[in-house]
Amino acid sequence: MSFDAPTIVQIILGAIALLSAMTVVLVREIMRMAIGLGVFLLSVAGLFLLYGASFLATSEVFVYVGGVLVLMLFAIMLVQRSDSGRAVLVSRHDIGSASVALGLFVMLTVALQGVSNRFTGSAPESSMQELSEVLMGGRLVQYEIAGLLLLVALVAVIVIAGGDER
């Protein structure tokens, strides 16, 4: 493996992603967890950019950092009690969960050995035109169903979270 510039960037971004994911999972303060999630999503967007999926990187920043993370911060601020700053993380299932995650990691790594990732460091940029042709051509049905799903989720959120005076 040659350590050229894209490989080094890949390793750095991957290390940031791993560390911030561990922050999300392990840290106790909820606000710090949210900050860690933001760093994690930004590093994933950087990896998308490195792999040539620039439109996905942009949508990742818009949808996740600008949408889901802000929504999560609002939810935290709405429900935060004065004593819930430090979440109790001591779980009886700590060792079992760690072994499940570790076993899954080994299993997936072994299963994905055959996958040849031919990333050469210079992934060709994807073009918006081809992506829109795919979305509006062969995957039109999925696209419309996704729009319908968003509408259903919107109505469900209004029903669930709003109007609880009954």
């Binding site: 999300v24 994933v44 990896l47 889901v68 939810a75 935290i76 499940v100 996958v115 060709p124 959120v157």
Partner: protein, 104 residues
């Protein structure tokens, strides 16, 4: 192979978080981590260019699939956070081990 390894590791970290965290926001954030890992795996596997033609064989199709995954993930996060707000308002509870009425 680095990208695939990172995505597998991120997914497993998310699994650990879903299994161990006790607060609902933490579980939702761990699910976000898991989904980001799976999306990263798809993009990393499709990122290689064909050595002969120089084009990405699966690129556009995978990008469309990941875009639809993002839509599903955003809907899931919205509904989950709405459930969290609703439960916290009516019961004053934000931890999943305090919600045991339907435990079998």
């Amino acid at each position: 192979m680095i990208g695939v390894l990172v995505s597998v590791a991120v997914f497993c970290i998310g699994v650990y978080g879903v299994l161990t965290r006790r607060d609902i926001v933490g579980v939702l954030a761990s699910i976000e981590v898991m989904l980001a890992g799976s999306m990263l795996a798809l993009v990393a596997m499709a990122s290689g260019a064909d050595s002969v033609t120089g084009v990405r064989p699966l690129g556009q199709s995978i990008e469309a699939v990941v875009l639809l995954l993002m839509v599903i993930d955003a809907a899931e996060a919205a509904v989950g956070l709405a459930l969290l707000v609703s439960v916290a308002r009516r019961r004053g509870v934000t931890r999943i081990d305090e919600l045991q009425e339907v435990k079998g």
